[in-house]
């Protein structure tokens, strides 16, 4: 295969990938709150009401589909300074208190009853 052929096929694959990725791209919606390495709670940010709760000295706030560490007893407050996160892959960690928030892509829930 010539170099030009390779470039042609590679660019087609990349273009197709970009088009499909663009089409299917979705905001991350599920926040998992870990405390000392264990899941404390999983929250669907798309459907959750605005609320505040405290896990191991870290006050966590959910507002309009975003989540943040609103307050913490830790010394440097790195977690609080990070502010709101909302996209898949983003994390907030309060290392001194052992609290981590991770946002994942999708919860694959089609309907919620209750």
């Amino acid at each position: 295969m010539k170099k030009a052929d390779f470039i042609l096929i590679a660019s087609a694959i990349i273009l197709a990938g970009i088009m499909l990725a663009f089409f299917f791209n979705k905001k991350g919606s599920v926040a998992t709150v870990y405390c000392q390495g264990e899941i404390y709670k999983t929250v669907d940010l798309k459907t959750s009401e605005n609320m505040t709760f405290t896990v191991n000295n870290v006050e966590i706030q959910i507002e309009n589909g975003k989540i943040r560490a609103n307050n913490s007893t830790c010394h440097d407050k790195v977690c609080v300074k990070q502010g709101f996160i909302e996209k898949a892959g983003q994390t907030v960690a309060c290392v001194p208190n052992g609290v981590v928030i991770v946002i994942s892509g999708s919860f694959h829930v089609d309907g919620v009853t209750g």
């Binding site: 295969m1 404390y40 709670k41 959750s48 959910i62 829930v109 919620v112 009853t113």
Partner: protein, 334 residues
């Protein structure tokens, strides 16, 4: 002319990409939420964009029409008028829902009771005026009910004037039934309709639909999920509507209409899966009132299944549903 292999591959990739995108556009999923029937209604429809738009408009109109018939609280509704003055109606929605409610009332020995409208409005749970009524008023309200005081016959519903009907325990599921009937005459292939947490899963989804049950102890979380081929799902829970009196005692909205007080047991929510929406809605209330053991034969009569979540966060399934519990919840050993 010799066509290079690379050009053929390029063309193939282009065609596949465009086809995939076109398929997705033709089967576009539209989502919308709005308020109606005294709650939040959410629609998720998969069809062409134009068809989705048309269906959302027509479904929304239909829900308003149903609300105008069966709402017990809206002073302009047909039911309000029946309860307060006429005592009879041939309204098609009222006749249909009354037939289903009467059947569930009889099969559950009154655990699902749509004839106790006076007791429900006396307590006013879910409204600003909610209070514990005085015991004399409760004693009177429990006599102002009973299936023998309602007649559903020949496309007409009549009732005795000392009772009031309340379809609140079946209305949301009933709206899902009507949505299904409507969708069957459209080009919509797949849909999820949610009327205040009563759900219709319409059409087949590869791998099944994933249903989540709200976490009764934590707003925004899920207690468990399960997979469903299609059908209707409804939940009744003591955490949904309640008030706390000056002594700190909590009163929820699911009544034992024989005593006139909210049901007291170990349950916090009951989710029912059935092939009829109004039935799933009414059964979720009936099973909450009856508790787990007595619910078995009732569920069997409707070929329905139920998930009981108890206050201690254990989960009991009656039927073949395989549930995945979230952190903090676990199924009981069968």
């Amino acid at each position: 002319m010799k066509v290079k292999a690379s050009v053929i591959i390029f063309a193939l990739i282009a065609v596949i990409t465009v086809t995939v995108l076109c398929t997705c556009i033709a089967g576009k999923t539209s989502e919308i939420s709005f308020s109606g029937m005294g709650t939040v209604i959410s629609l998720k429809l998969t069809s062409s964009e134009k068809e989705n738009e048309k269906c959302i408009k027509e479904l929304s109109d239909m829900f308003s029409e149903i609300e105008n018939s069966i709402s017990a609280n809206d002073e302009k509704s047909v039911l309000y008028n029946v309860n307060k003055s006429t005592n009879e109606t041939d309204d098609k929605y009222i006749v249909e829902i009354a037939e289903i409610c009467k059947d569930v009332y009889e099969k559950s020995n009154g655990a699902f009771d749509f004839t106790a409208g006076k007791l429900v409005s006396l307590w006013g749970i879910g409204f600003e005026n909610a209070k514990v009524p005085d015991s004399g008023a409760i004693a009177e309200a429990v006599t102002q009910r009973g299936i023998e005081k309602v007649n559903v016959f020949g496309e007409k519903v009549t009732k005795s004037k000392d009772i009031e009907l309340d379809f609140g325990g079946a209305g949301k599921g009933f709206a899902c039934d009507k949505a299904k009937e409507y969708l069957e005459n459209t080009k919509v292939k797949k849909a999820v309709v949610s009327v205040g947490g009563s759900l219709l899963f319409y059409g087949k989804k590869q791998g099944g639909w994933t249903v989540a049950v709200k976490d009764p102890n934590f707003d925004g979380g899920y207690a468990l999920t399960f997979s469903l081929k299609d059908g209707f799902v409804s939940t009744s829970g003591s955490y949904e509507r309640y008030f706390t009196d000056e002594n700190g005692k909590t009163y929820h909205h699911i009544f034992d209409t024989q005593t006139g007080y909210p049901v007291e047991n170990d349950l916090i929510s009951v989710t029912v899966v059935a092939d009829n929406g109004a039935v799933s809605d009414a059964l979720s209330t009936a099973c909450f009132v009856l508790d787990e053991e007595k619910s078995k034969s009732l569920l069997e009569q409707y070929n329905a299944e139920a998930i009981f979540i108890r206050k201690d966060r254990t989960v009991n399934v009656l039927g073949n549903i395989k549930v995945n519990c979230a952190e903090g919840y676990k199924t009981v050993e069968q």
